[in-house]
């Protein structure tokens, strides 16, 4: 006796819970692996799953088992050369293992356990405990976008908004209310009249006058009932619409970068990694994000991603040109009421000395007024120059401004975390 069951359509993710348990248990190790990987991860790779490696000894499930040594006999198959009494040198490193059922696991205790986690899991780990700063405070201030929604009915409005069903319902109710008493009366009178007409009593003349009287009353009633209008202006109901503000789910991220001769490819790579992190972080809060790349030397230019990261320019550095361009682009395309504006500026700190106060002024007076967040990273191992010192004033004054120094690729992720560390107070 046998029967077949087709289970192929049953859920295949039976192990999902156990997998999550595993990830939770080794969260700290996995997080460390993720943090390590961010500096090695291919810069263009933002889609693929992340492979995570953690030391196998950390995740072993111990059991009591026999160790090396002692006196053992082992029967092996495939004798091709041995005779009784042959002696063999003991192989280094323990040889055949313990002979227990764990043969496949023995002898490789220091192997690493590696596996892949999905992009979502990766980002969750990457941005664990991080949040967008100032989001709550500013959320309601800059709203200019509204959505219209139905909000019940009203008695005045334009004809296109008449709700027919609702209006007729009201009319009917009114008609019933205004005529019910009369109709009841009418029925009674009609019944009385009928009775009189049918009766074969003697007093004919008295009857006749009574009948005439009744007929008169009935007619009057009927007229009064007919006078109740089928529909009245009073009955008309209009659909009501109202507006409510919606928080914008759109964000634009400005990447500003110095591409003057002093910025080499390594520095740009660091900047790029930082931008990628920022971008991925923003995708967690916003549905669609546009990225604007502005590069500058003495002049600023809006470019595409490829050119932004890979084309080489030479010449001096005027940072304010980029800020001005950003300002223009915002005015033109991204009204701050509808867009959440983020900007990240990367530079090696070089600037035309006279220009630095200018930069400060632009940021202070306009850009920082409407930006959600403006992050400045200085990628340099040298001492800071005027730009840094000017920006330091802003750092004190504005909450939505932050600046950090990155020296080596390994700093990127820690610095990023510092930027967005969950603020417990305020």
């Amino acid at each position: 006796m046998a029967h077949f069951i087709d289970r192929r359509l049953n859920g295949k993710n039976k192990s999902a819970v156990n997998r999550q348990r595993f990830l939770r248990r080794y969260k700290s190790q996995i997080k460390k692996a993720v943090a390590d990987s961010i500096s090695q991860r291919s810069v263009t790779d933002t889609e693929s799953r992340e492979s995570v490696t953690i030391p196998k000894r950390d995740i072993q499930e111990p059991i009591f088992h026999q160790g090396k040594g002692g006196d053992r006999d082992r029967v092996l198959p495939g004798n091709d050369q041995f005779s009784r009494g042959d002696k063999i040198k003991r192989p280094e490193g323990g040889g055949q293992g313990s002979g227990s059922g764990e043969a496949s696991n023995s002898g490789e205790g220091e192997d690493d356990f590696s596996f892949t986690i999905s992009m979502d899991e990766y980002l969750n780990l990457l941005f664990d405990d991080l949040e967008l700063p100032n989001l709550q405070q500013t959320q309601n201030e800059q709203i200019t976008e509204y959505e219209t929604y139905r909000a019940g009915f009203k008695s005045e409005g334009i004809p296109t908004n008449i709700d027919v069903v609702r209006s007729l319902k009201g009319a009917q109710a009114r008609r019933i209310a205004l005529t019910a008493g009369k109709k009841k009366k009418l029925k009674e009178l009609e019944a009385e009249l009928q009775e009189l007409l049918n009766s074969t009593t003697t007093n004919k003349s008295q009857d006749r006058s009574l009948i005439a009287q009744l007929e008169q009353q009935i007619l009057q009633l009927k007229q009064r009932i007919a006078k109740v209008p089928f529909i009245d202006t009073f009955d008309l109901k209009y659909r009501n619409f109202d507006k409510r503000p919606i928080p914008s789910s759109r964000a634009v991220m400005f990447c500003l970068m110095d591409v003057s001769g002093s910025m080499d490819q390594a520095t740009k790579d660091i900047a790029k990694r930082f931008y990628i992190l920022l971008y991925q972080f923003l995708t967690r809060s916003y549905d669609n994000i546009e990225v604007v790349y502005i590069r500058h030397h003495t002049q600023a230019k809006e470019v595409d991603e490829q050119e932004f990261f890979y084309s080489q320019e030479t010449g001096g550095t005027i940072v304010s040109s980029a800020l001005n361009l950003m300002e223009e682009i915002v005015k033109e395309r991204y009204p701050p009421g509808q867009w959440n504006i983020y900007a990240a500026q990367a530079s090696d700190g070089d600037n035309w000395a006279d220009d630095s106060p200018q930069c400060k002024r632009i940021l202070e007076q306009s850009i920082l007024q409407y930006s959600r967040y403006f992050a400045y990273i200085e990628i340099t191992q040298r001492s800071h120059q005027t730009l840094w010192h000017e920006y330091e004033h802003l750092n004190v004054k504005f909450e939505n401004f932050a600046m950090k120094n990155i020296k080596y690729p390994g700093d990127i992720y820690p610095v990023f975390r510092e930027f967005f560390q969950k603020q417990t107070s305020s």
């Binding site: 046998a2 198959p77 495939g78 004798n79 005779s83 009494g85």
Partner: protein, 518 residues
Amino acid sequence: MTDRLHNVENNQPTKRLTDTPLSDGPDWTFSLLEDYQTEIARVAKHYALNTYPNQIEIITSEQMLDAYSSVGMPINYHHWSFGKKFIESSQNYKRGYMGLAYEIVINSDPCISYLMEENTMTMQALVMAHACYGHNSFFKNNYLFKTWTDASSIIDYLMFARNYIQHCEQKYGVEEVEEILDSCHALMNLGVDRYKRPQKISMFEEQKRQKEREEYLQSQVNDLWRTVPSMNVEEQKKKQNVPAEPQENLLYFFEKHAPLLTSWQRELVRIVRKVSQYFYPQKQTQVMNEGWASFWHYTILNHLFDEGLVTERFILEFLQSHTNVVAQPSYNSPYYSGINPYALGFAMFTDIRRMCENPDDEDKEWFPDLVGKNWLDTLHYAMENFKDESFIAQYLSPKMIRKFKLFNLQDHEKNNMLEVTDIHNEQGYKAIRQSLAAQYNLSQIEPNIQVTKVDVNGDRSLSLTYTPHANIPLAKNIDEMLRHVYRLWGFDVKLYIDKGNAGKDLLAQCPEPEVDSP
């Protein structure tokens, strides 16, 4: 099964040249599966294979990976280690390090076996013959399984366990539950009764009894640890050795006597113990179980071929898979990973049949009892009454030793060199057979650790004693292991090694003693 009589003459497949063999696929359909199943069942019956009803489930490879990670069971409680196993096997599978098993079969009633969607028709037929009739009849008739497992209740029990553990997780927190399970898993191998038949388990009974057991157990424990001295000194002296006999089932001992466990924790210990007990017979019958199943898929499908029911294409594909399954790489091959239980088991069952049917002089000398016997009866008898160790000791013939070119390698610690003590020749047969049988003796390959003393009247410390076999020490992870024991016991734990006449040495203790400051 004394009423089984096999008619030897009837055992030869009737040569029947069918003009219309079953389709050989390669794609399978449900109706084709049914057809093959019917034919296989008929042949299995012809060979007196007595089985549980079969429940055959078609699954995808992803589902197979799921099944892998919960030790093959269709349902299991949640634990991170299953997640780890899942990640490991799916990773290996995706990288191509590992092919998936063609089937998984569960010792349950009805007997559940999984067929993978990807398999060809031939493979499905092979798996059905192998799992649904081979393993299934083994589960139902082997004495170890009959004594130690209850096929009808395992699924129900796992259901109970899963629900209970889920309930505990909600009530006491996932982490709390995980800690206890971790420690229990660590001691799983020391959580089986080897000599005492366990009670039957079923979900309904289990749920009914669980509550009362909870209260009862707790009261028992308290009784053992009663602190008011109520007995006189004489009695106290008598009682001093607790437990009276060394206890080998650590988990059972903790379930009953660990002083600090709460009732739900005791229930978790019990669940792990029960699961461990359920798998205990499988560990001891790998060679026999796989050998038996392989023997029957081979015999049944060849029988079908002889009858003309399957095509040549079918049988060739089958033979190729079969040959791969029962291949035995040599000791020096890169593919060598111990003796292949399929190979050894299949060869031995085939050999027993040969000795019954076509014995030669050597067989007459070595196995006079088998010569000329009804091979089917003999095979069934062997399957029913042995485990790997005794099966090899009883039936491994010189022919098999020569076939596998077995040799015994002696590795004694005090010698610098390994020594080949016996090879496949007249002087070596018996020694090799003995040595190979011992290799499957669980009591020699799993460490023997027992509870020897509980200091009832003192600091409540627990003493474990390791009795080494052949001077083999314990692996280095004993400190970690003792922490698990300590978690369950709640008071100091000491592990001693029994050195025979030289007395006992303390190996480790937990918590580790603080360095004395004078």
